[in-house]
Symmetry: C2
Subunit: 401 residues, 2 copies
């Protein structure tokens, strides 16, 4: 009989996650931050009621698949894939990798750890930016659209980088790494162009011809496709989560997308809770003191590289200086994807628990600093053009993450 | 990193489960039977694409918790708890235990195995009976109501018996077993009278005062309560699933019950699929030959003891002979709970894989035989009084399992 204690742990984790949700809402912070804080409280560093064990690891891993699938499902927006957004995302992902790598190397970390730390700096978490934009009624502006679009592309790029970085511990040569890069790009391109048609056709055919009277079976079918694509990505040597994300992007074009979203919501809330609580449980609180200067340097470089990496292309692509700066600052917060990459690194043994904890603290700090900086920037710009509510749904999709 | 192969296994299991669903619907058999058959196909006995491993065990165990929780949620029917239904359920549970025990002992099984085999004969699975009743328009009859009510009580009784039987492998004396019986009854009574008020109040307070704007958090809260009560049952030395079932019964009185049902449906379909597929994967096909006579004897005694154990009280409580016979035959199929008890026995090492497989085959046979017998009985009785559709929802609740 599998360990029954898991029921107790799950119950406590869910209760702490609820507390985290409520706290985040109260202080208008991203939900992930609130839950992770309660995860840290629950973990060995403070209360010690729960520990990261193999069972929790499996559930957290299923959680990251579901999270990325839902993220993909929600990224069905034509306005996303513009050249401008792509440039902001690409440069805004590469500059932080390089910056993170340099900082880590300067602090004496070996080359693999440094590359991994760089990789965790790629993806933007728009939660906090969106809520600031909403609050001050700037959600309909052009800067907001650029940030949202670029952040979606950011996710794909960072998952590609993770897939490439995953090859690093195998200590393979440059040829193999180039092969890996080509493979990643080929997989993404294949999924976005052919996979989309195949998966959408399969799901719609199944939903409309095979099971008409049992729509929930379509949900089961979709989930099995997500697991298959995740496994396919893994077989190709990529990160399984990029498969889950791309499966979500593909299936977002299905006519049954509302059914998928309705079902996924209930999984998302449970698995997200457990996932972020586990992220917190693994954090070592003492790393905040022992690695204080590293965390500080990493946070500064994380924000600076996004301001440069995302802000400069925005400026070059036609934004005013001020607006380009807003794009750069707005894209500085790191979140979900950084946590996922860091946890992968920890489980693979590439980074230590201390470094993992440092990355989580860096994420926290980028969020808090962005909150303050963004409000100051908008205040300095002056004038509040109340945004239209119709756009809020659009942003909500990104916000939910 | 937890084994990634789990994604592949989950995908295949879900796809096979879908095939099982579709096949069951086509042949108008209970869904569980169809999925289990596809589980047997998938398992080592035939194709060998999936194996029962610790990860699947955890997911299956979570699945049985969710299944029983939903079963409890759906049992919110005042007409259930009548003295007549209670007598049919009680005698209809005890006689099969005794019958199963005797048959198993005659076939040379030791006392613990025999008690366990007896325990698997307790609970009725109404799926097949309901669909026959629906088909011939007898769903609104008094016999149907008695069967449905008794089957719900049956579930509770069989979970109590499982809890008592769980004490057996510890080889404790009669005093301890009597203590266990008192504990089980006390737990059930406490949950049904006080637990219901406490849990319902907690959930409604949470839903209406704490999270008003985020109803899905109420779902998270409910699940954490289910896990807690399951764990509480385990601490008391009872089966965790009886906790899950009773938590469901309690929360079915909550004002947020529709929210809980909506969310649970999506979990039920995924976890039920995985659960029944695993039930099939573990079955050894060759047991059907090696234990043929035992399976045959067990099936005959399973049907005979329900006809006597459920039919006789029905007759005594005022049914005509013919109707009492219909009640007895209608309650003969075994299903979900038998599988759950058998799987528990296997995981605890009380029964072997062969015996486990024999129990699964016995369940299959009771279903098929009931299907034929029930139609013959109703035909012999003659006249088809088309039932009212309003009752179908009521039956659907039991049918879904």
């Amino acid at each position: 009989m599998a360990e029954i204690k898991i029921f107790f742990e799950l119950a406590i984790m869910l209760l702490f996650a609820i507390a985290g949700y409520l706290l985040s809402k109260k202080f208008k912070q991203p939900v992930s931050i609130g839950i992770i804080i309660f995860g840290i409280l629950l973990g060995p560093s403070v209360i010690g009621l729960a520990e990261y064990n193999p069972t929790i690891a499996i559930i957290a891993q299923l959680g990251s698949i579901i999270l990325l699938f839902v993220a993909g499902l929600n990224s069905n927006m034509k306005e996303v894939y513009t050249k401008r957004n792509f440039m902001i995302a690409l440069v805004g992902a590469i500059v932080p990798v390089v910056g993170g790598f340099i900082v880590a190397t300067l602090f004496g970390y070996d080359i693999f750890t440094s590359i991994f730390i760089g990789a965790t700096l790629t993806a933007t978490c728009l939660g906090i930016t969106s809520s600031v934009l909403k609050e001050i009624g700037k959600i309909k502006t052009d800067t907001a659209k650029a940030m949202i679009g670029a952040a979606v592309i950011d996710d794909i790029i960072s998952l590609c980088i993770l897939s490439i970085v995953l090859a690093v511990p195998e200590k393979i040569g440059p040829t193999a790494i180039i092969f890996k890069i080509i493979l990643v790009i080929a997989f993404v391109v294949f999924m976005l162009f052919f996979g989309e048609r195949i998966l959408t056709w399969l799901l719609d055919y199944f939903n409309e011809k095979v099971v008409r009277s049992m729509p929930k079976l379509t949900f089961v079918f979709a989930l099995s496709l997500v697991f298959l694509i995740s496994y396919l990505a893994f077989i190709l040597g990529l990160a399984p989560i990029i498969g889950a994300f791309l499966a979500g992007v593909c299936l977002s074009k299905s006519r049954a997308v509302n059914l998928l979203l309705a079902g996924s919501e209930y999984y998302e809330i449970i698995f997200t809770s457990i996932f972020f609580i586990s992220i917190g449980i693994v954090v070592e609180l003492k790393a905040f003191y022992t690695l204080f200067w590293f965390i500080l340097a990493l946070t500064i470089i994380a924000i600076a590289t996004k301001i440069i990496g995302a802000g400069f292309p925005a400026y070059k692509m036609g934004f005013k200086k001020k607006d380009a700066l807003i794009v750069g600052v707005g894209m500085a917060p790191r979140g979900e994807i950084a946590f996922i990459i860091a946890l992968n690194g920890l489980l693979l043994g590439v980074i230590t628990k201390e470094v993992y904890s440092a990355i989580v603290f860096m994420s926290f700090l980028t969020t808090v600093i962005t909150l303050v900086a963004l409000k100051m920037l908008y205040n300095a710009k002056g004038g509040s053009s109340k945004g239209l509510d119709e756009e809020i749904d659009f942003i909500d999709l990104k916000l939910k993450r």
